[in-house]
């Protein structure tokens, strides 16, 4: 009976993917990327089971990797929310990298110019400055898209590269240069983020923003307008939604959220407390593109993005043991992240189609 002819497959369009299906698809894609990465691990002479148990036991151990897992994971949450708010209007905010750099500049500018302020005043000021700088940079991309029709993907990428050199200008031999080569001066002690059970308080801020954003997008009038514009620009035009203004609005909100992550990243991790050398801050900046992947995997649901970001954070943190503890070649950890991202992208297919066997 099982001749080749009976094995005809048919694609069926899925109108809407439910949350449960999305979870199943995401887990499936994770399993798939874990299998592929096992091949690389075997090539390098490591036992995959051993490696994976090392990765997660390290990432989730409160005395070892957990603080960094939470810190990096919730850093990704900032980027994800920045992407989600813009993509709700179907605008590709891939400018999180630049907005994060600008947020860094805003926060550090405050810390360096007012180092003596009491932490209770200084830290909120730094966050505010980061949000304003990020929002301004986001608004610039939104203005280019909304008023001048500049493609937002290219526009954002150019702004990201400009922002990278802007940080470079300030840190490497610039006014913020530290004693160590090509890093910035250390942050004043008053600017260090208070740690609340393993993680800086800004992690909770990220979670709070996710919940507020969820309510904003699904319950408020403005959120409704944003979603109408995203789903049907023509319908939006008919009911009088001002598209350019909405584009600027979502990019500004996104930029503000991504800007906050500047403080979270550098002041929240005791390993930094300064802007590191360009390759290192660029490596962190490159992580912001995960916001796009996580946002889409979570079907633009800000609340679902919370656990997903932390999970990706655990992979990010845990995979560093491959190099540091298991003595595997440098770069294997970033390869793992790359594999996870490309399989997530490929598995977007199942968000749109079902494979049916025809009888």
């Amino acid at each position: 009976m099982t001749s080749l002819e009976t094995l005809k497959l048919k694609l069926e369009r899925v109108p809407v993917v439910s949350g449960g299906q999305a979870v199943r698809i995401s887990l499936l894609s994770l399993v798939f990327s874990f299998i592929i990465f096992s091949i690389f691990l075997s090539i390098e002479g490591a036992n995959p089971i051993d490696a994976y148990s090392n990765i997660f036991s390290f990432a989730l151990d409160p005395n070892l990797g957990l603080p960094t897992t939470l810190h990096r994971g919730l850093f990704l949450l900032f980027s994800t929310l920045a992407f989600v708010v813009a993509y709700s209007a179907r605008l590709w905010n891939v400018g999180m990298e630049g907005q994060f750099y600008l947020g860094t500049i805003g926060a550090f500018a405050v810390a360096y110019s007012l180092p003596e302020l009491h932490p209770a005043i200084l830290i909120p000021l730094m966050l505010l400055a980061g949000a304003i700088f990020g929002a301004g940079y986001g608004a610039l991309a939104g203005f280019l898209r909304g008023k001048l029709n500049v493609n937002e993907v290219v526009g954002c990428l150019m702004l990201n590269n400009i922002a990278f050199w802007l940080v470079y200008l300030l840190t490497v031999g610039g006014p913020w240069a530290g004693i160590a080569e090509s890093t910035s001066r250390p942050l004043p002690p008053n600017a260090h983020a208070p740690i609340i059970s393993y993680t800086p308080f800004t992690s909770y801020l990220a979670i709070g923003i996710a919940i507020v954003l969820y309510i904003f997008l699904s319950k408020s009038v403005v959120g409704y307008k944003i979603r109408v514009l995203g789903n049907s620009p023509t319908a939006a035009q008919h009911i009088g939604i001002n598209a350019p203004r909405t584009y600027i609005l979502v990019m500004t909100i996104g930029g503000a959220i991504a800007g906050l992550s500047g403080y979270h990243m550098w002041a929240g991790d005791p390993a930094f407390l300064m802007i590191p050398r360009p390759e290192a801050y660029k490596a962190i900046g490159d992580l912001t593109y995960w916001g796009l992947i996580i946002g889409l995997v979570c079907l633009l649901n800000p609340v679902a993005a919370i656990p997903t970001s932390v999970f990706i954070g655990s992979i990010m943190m845990g995979s560093t043991v491959l190099v540091r503890r298991l003595r595997l070649p440098f770069g294997l950890d970033v390869l793992f992240l790359g594999l996870v991202s490309i399989t997530f992208a490929a598995f977007q297919f199942f968000y749109m189609y079902k494979v049916r066997r025809m009888k």
Partner: protein
């Protein structure tokens, strides 16, 4: 002065080869925002091949790996109908990880034996790039195949009805686009830089991507754009060869190509240009072809 011009022509070569490949696949309706990633893969493969086998194999292997990941993009975006931006970004993120793992252990300059031949300090690859552009221009505007490619990019449904294999054409163009991006990357790492350093493309792929938009999807305008941006890019790196007393610090100059890109994009996005732009933009660009 001439060494500077030769170097900026080499940057133009990189931009030109990568961008003309992107132009081809966009003409068939497929956007590949992963071009920076394809260039990285080509650069890494080319560099490692050059270490072991020399320059010609480097270009061939760079092209092959670019083509391979062009194929991946074609499978994802054409057959699996994943959003093309998502697919391209996925490939880019993958490339950043894979290339770091694969090539960073070979960081450093190429040994002296594999330095590219140069005619008056200019790599002959520049002329090959010109030939590639002319060939693609010729194919697109003068041949039956070019008509097929353009019809697939404009209206895939009408093309299919008139007997053009839409999926096959898109696969072909995306793979060739990937091969050219890979070749551009291999040229970047083995000839222009002659050394491997962590993630060497530094945004060149994105400029090539933007050049395709500036060019109104015409190869000959693209040539002008690539020459201009090659000059700007090289000027930002070594301004002292033009004028020793440039007052601006280096990082400020390095922003220049990106600022220039935004300025040009803003100009061509204005209403007056946009009508012309909208006319030449492939109608089905970025849209998956779904047979109903």
């Amino acid at each position: 002065m001439w060494p500077f011009i030769a170097r900026s022509l080499e940057v133009a070569t990189i931009l030109l080869i990568a961008a003309v490949g992107e132009l081809l696949n966009q003409r068939s309706g497929v956007i590949n925002v992963g071009i920076e990633g394809l260039m990285l893969l080509g650069a890494a493969a080319g560099f490692i091949a050059a270490l072991f086998w020399g320059l010609i194999p480097a270009f061939i292997i760079g092209m092959l790996i670019g083509g391979l990941f062009g194929l991946v993009h074609a499978i994802l975006s054409t057959s699996l109908k994943v959003n093309q931006v998502v697919s391209g970004m996925g490939i880019w993120l993958f490339a950043m990880g894979f290339v770091t793992y694969w090539a960073d252990r070979y960081s450093g300059p190429l040994p002296r034996g594999v330095v590219s031949p140069r005619i008056y300090e200019l790599s002959p690859m520049f002329f090959i790039a010109l030939i590639i552009v002319v060939v693609i221009w010729f194919i697109l505007s003068k041949t039956h195949l070019g008509l097929k490619v353009k019809s697939v990019g404009e209206n895939p449904f009408a093309a299919e009805v008139s007997g053009v294999k839409v999926i096959r054409t898109r696969y072909l163009c995306t793979i060739i686009g990937g091969m050219l991006a890979g070749l551009a990357g291999a040229f970047l790492s083995t000839t222009y830089l002659g050394a491997w350093s962590h993630l060497p493309t530094k945004g060149l792929g994105w400029i090539a991507f933007a050049l395709v938009m500036f060019s109104l999807w015409r190869p000959l305008i693209l040539l002008g754009g690539a020459l201009t941006f090659g000059f700007i890019w090289q000027f930002a790196i070594s301004p002292e060869t033009i004028y020793a007393g440039i007052p601006a610090p280096l990082p400020l100059l390095r922003m220049l190509p990106f600022v220039a890109t935004i300025v040009v994009l803003t100009i061509i996005s204005r209403e007056k240009f946009r009508r012309k732009w909208a006319l030449s933009r492939p109608e089905a660009l970025g849209e998956p072809y779904i047979k109903e």
